[in-house]
């Protein structure tokens, strides 16, 4: 007995069920809004309008989505090998060092298209390094990755405070941040992309790291389903005993997978540092590493699912900020609650409605079959 419930058609599995989950999440969120005495329809209006109402808003939505694509991919890659990397937050944070170093070194003498590749390499290197350590500790010493990656988030945070207050801060400045980069450390915006659709990006920091994120998503797909390494990772993720039988070395795959995962998380740093602030600030990751977990869950660890899931969270971030701005009695924390509800219904309670839907489909199938029969008779 492999699957207790019959298989559903693809559009139900990947379309209808996520949509129902989402609808329920918003319904419950609406109730919460009602509870604090606000009009949920107004909130919904601000959410949608805030995310899509203008070219500028769309630019912000996609800017956030870029960040979440990177962190979502990071979690997904590890997940395929059966590893739960919840250290994306710290890896992205440390990845920022690589970006900052490249920019501080060359921003005044080189154009962005020279600095950008170096910054990518730097972010991947530092992100991978920060994930290598927990991976290596699990492979060699058996320390569980879930524990060590959390601890590494804290270490990263302390490390960055130290670096930004003592090492990378320009002399005489009071703010815990690097100096502002010159032109070479600033990524061009994707204003042309939005203008194709007749939209004006305005002040939104929607930049070319979005394209890098899409490329990374494609790269992850190739890695997981088309390379030998991906095959080994999936074998280990599905069945460690089969991997052992096949001669796949668990320690090797653990370390390599964690490094790829950390590298992807590290790339996230490009977006805020080179795309928005043009300097590295304290706490620039802002929880994106954790959102990545929800994005990967919702996207079923498949790049094709992660991109829409990341955009959804982009909507929640950007539209949510708009709600908080327009409806002062709904605080920023309320927005976090709404985001939490989406994670709850779309991620954790993903299977809640599945049995009922499956049954509905089975019955519909039977009725259809019955109709065919009577017609045939």
């Amino acid at each position: 007995m492999s699957t207790p419930y019959a298989k559903l058609p693809g559009w139900v599995e990947y379309g209808l069920i996520p949509l129902i989950n989402l609808a329920v999440a918003f319904l419950v969120a609406g109730l919460v809004v009602l509870l604090v005495g606000e009009n949920p329809f107004e909130a919904a209006y601000h959410l949608i309008n805030g995310a899509f109402g203008r070219g500028e808003y769309i630019g912000f939505t996609l800017y956030y989505a870029t960040t979440f694509i990177f962190t979502g991919l990071a979690v997904a890659v590890a997940f395929h090998a059966g590893l739960f990397n919840i250290g994306g937050e710290g890896q992205a944070y440390v990845g920022g060092i690589g970006v900052a170093l490249a920019c501080l070194w060359l921003d005044q003498v080189m154009p962005w298209y020279v600095v950008f590749p170096l910054a990518i390499v730097g972010s991947v290197f530092f992100g991978a390094l920060w994930a290598f350590l927990p991976g290596w500790l699990q492979a060699k010493r058996g320390s569980h990755i879930v524990i060590t990656t959390i601890m590494f988030n804290f270490i990263a945070s302390s490390l960055m405070v130290y670096l930004l207050t003592r090492v990378l801060k320009p002399l005489g400045s009071m703010a815990p941040q690097t100096r502002t980069f010159a032109e070479g450390g600033q990524l061009p915006k994707l204003d042309w992309l939005l203008s194709i659709f007749g939209l004006n990006v305005g002040t939104a920091p929607f930049n070319i790291s979005f394209l890098l994120a899409l490329a990374a998503a494609f790269g992850v797909w190739v890695l997981i389903w088309r390379t030998k390494l991906g095959y080994e990772m999936r074998t280990m993720g599905h069945s460690p005993s089969a991997a052992r039988y096949a001669g796949i070395r668990e320690s090797r795959i653990t370390v390599i997978t964690m490094m790829i995962s950390g590298g992807l998380a590290g790339m996230m740093a490009l977006n805020p540092i080179m795309g928005e602030q043009f300097r590295m600030q304290l706490d620039f990751v802002q929880g994106a590493g954790f959102v990545g977990i929800a994005v990967a869950l919702m996207g079923r660890s498949h790049p094709g699912g992660i991109i829409p899931a990341a955009i959804l969270f982009g909507v929640l971030y950007q539209g949510g900020a708009e709600i908080a701005f327009e409806m002062p009695s709904i605080s920023r924390d309320m927005i976090v609650i709404i985001q939490g509800l989406v994670i709850l219904f779309a991620g954790a309670l993903e299977n809640m409605f599945r049995p009922a839907i499956t049954r509905a489909f089975a019955m519909r199938g039977q009725r259809a079959a019955a109709v065919v029969q009577t017609k045939g008779a």
Binding site: S2, T3, Y5, A6, R226, K228, Y245, A362
Partner: protein, 511 residues
């Protein structure tokens, strides 16, 4: 007729292109044991899953006790008195027997009241049907035979009158199987109706009243057991005459290909599982290891295959030593000519979530034939898989189907095709025909003997004594981790049985 417990009329079920059940009609009489047999993939499990509400039939009707029943899910099946014992048990490992039996059938929100009642009821059931188990034992500490008894108790506790058992003896030792059949006899005497799926025709002959045969999704015959024979049933299943015992010529052993010397294996708790075992396997011979399950055979195979660390001892493969106690590398052993068909195909030999073609390269995925640099050569992999599917008659012939959706016997063929088609020098096989139908058993046995005749060294472990006796050129018997004797295949079943029980062995060792 009022003595029909179950009637199926025109049951039809497809999974995409696979037509698993075609217009099935079946009547099961009340108070009888009704066998269902058929080749792997014939649709037996699918039919029973429909009866138990796991799947919905595309069309057709089910009557229970003469009344039409609409069985939407297992809960409705239970409510009309149908219980099922699955091939893979559905028990909570770290719950006690009592907790498992109660699970989902708690009477009230307050557990304590229910527990006392359940304990009483369980006692009554145990007495009535001679199903002794300690209600407070943890499932994970029970041997499989007892776990299965818990599954039966679970069904009875829910007042099942009709009990479906899907290949219940596949995981049991012969003694446990005998006990199970006594229990089933007992249940029948109490008026319960039992549907039994099995591949072992001997079991069908021994305890069923009637037997129905399925072939390629169709119900092709129903016979009264007394009036049929193993030969007739085998022919009905496969659609041609089947050789129930392989023919093989004399072995002509050559050089030693595999030499095991003083091999000792301890498990994680430090218990000795394999105790100072030595033997040789030569080119062109089949050495069988007989023994009751759990006497160290599995650990022995795993240590030789490099997936379990040995504490001491040496292994020579093709005359060159294998590091069994230190750094073990199954990939290197494969490259040196060792192929391994593991006992547990679900957890070790296959990744059930993979496509068939992905499993067809498991362990050989480093072979440049399947690669273009660091990338998988998907076309080459699928083509290779399709060739094996054709050669080993794996059904359905679809290299892209998820492996979990193949029937048990076809899953086994996927593993065998992968390991045998390489032409290894040494082939070690654990339980080659577990859960496999007679037609496929014939095929697999022929292939094993072909391997021998091509001059390969074959080491075979099986708990089926018949299989060991008909294939092996020499038989080693293992008991409590030791090789307690070597016999020729002409040795009687009784003689081997005594050795396997450790009786003869101790005498021999003492002498």
């Amino acid at each position: 007729m009022d003595n029909i417990a179950i009637e199926l009329r025109g049951i039809d079920k497809s999974f995409g292109p696979v037509h698993a059940n075609k217009d099935i009609n079946l009547k099961v009489r009340k108070g009888t044991i009704h066998g269902i047999i058929g080749e792997n993939g014939a649709g037996k499990s699918t039919l029973m899953s429909i009866l138990y509400g796991f799947y919905q039939a595309d069309s057709g009707e089910i009557f229970v006790d003469g009344k039409p029943a609409s069985i939407r899910d297992p809960n409705t099946a239970i409510s009309v008195g149908i219980g099922m014992v699955h091939q893979h048990f559905m028990l909570v490992e770290n719950f006690t027997v009592l907790e498992n039996v109660m699970l989902g059938a708690e009477d009230s929100q307050i557990l304590n009241k229910g527990i006392a009642k359940a304990r009483q009821e369980l006692k009554r059931l145990e007495k009535e049907y001679a199903l002794e188990v300690n209600p407070d034992a943890l499932i994970e500490e029970l041997p499989v035979g007892l776990q299965q008894r818990v599954e039966i108790l679970k069904a009875l506790y829910r007042r099942a009158d009709i009990l479906i058992l899907d290949e219940p003896t596949g995981v049991l030792t012969p003694a446990e199987a005998d006990h199970l059949f006594r229990i089933l006899g007992q249940l029948k005497a109490q008026g319960k109706t039992i549907i039994l799926i099995t591949h072992k025709l001997r079991e069908i002959m021994a305890i069923t009243d009637e037997v129905s045969v399925m072939r390629r999704g169709e119900m092709v015959a129903t016979r009264t057991t007394r009036e049929t024979s193993v030969e007739e049933l085998a022919e009905l299943m496969v659609g041609r005459r089947v050789l129930l015992r392989v023919e093989k010529g004399e072995a002509s052993p050559g050089d030693v290909k595999l030499a095991v010397e003083g091999l000792t294996v301890k498990d994680s708790r430090g218990v000795t599982m394999v105790d100072d075992v030595s033997f040789e396997v030569r080119a062109g011979e089949i050495v069988g290891i007989a023994g009751v399950a759990g006497n160290g055979q599995s650990e022995l195979l795993e240590a030789i295959a490099g997936i379990r660390r040995a504490t001491s001892g040496t292994v020579l493969l093709n005359g060159r030593s294998v590091d069994v106690t230190g750094h073990r590398d199954p990939a290197e052993l494969r490259a040196r000519g060792l192929a391994h068909v593991p006992e547990d195909r679900h957890h070790v030999g296959l990744v059930l979530k993979f496509e068939e073609s992905e499993n067809a390269i498991l362990g050989y995925h480093n072979d440049p034939r399947y690669l273009k640099g660091a990338f998988l050569d998907i076309d080459a992999i699928r083509k290779d898989a399709e060739e094996k599917i054709a050669k080993y008659d794996i059904r359905p012939p679809n290299a892209r189907l998820k492996t979990a959706n193949f029937s048990g016997g076809n899953q086994q063929k996927i593993v065998l095709a992968r390991e045998m088609e390489r032409g290894p020098d040494v082939l070690i096989i654990g339980q080659p025909t577990r859960g496999v139908d007679v037609g496929a058993i014939e095929f697999i046995h022929k292939r094993i003997i072909e391997m021998r005749d091509q001059g390969k060294a074959v080491l075979l472990v099986s708990v089926e004594l018949d299989e060991i006796r008909s294939l092996s050129d020499r038989i080693l018997v293992m008991f409590a981790g030791r090789v307690v004797g070597e016999r020729s295949p002409e040795a009687t079943e009784g003689e081997l049985g005594l050795l396997m029980a450790g009786v003869e062995g101790r005498k021999e060792a003492a002498e």
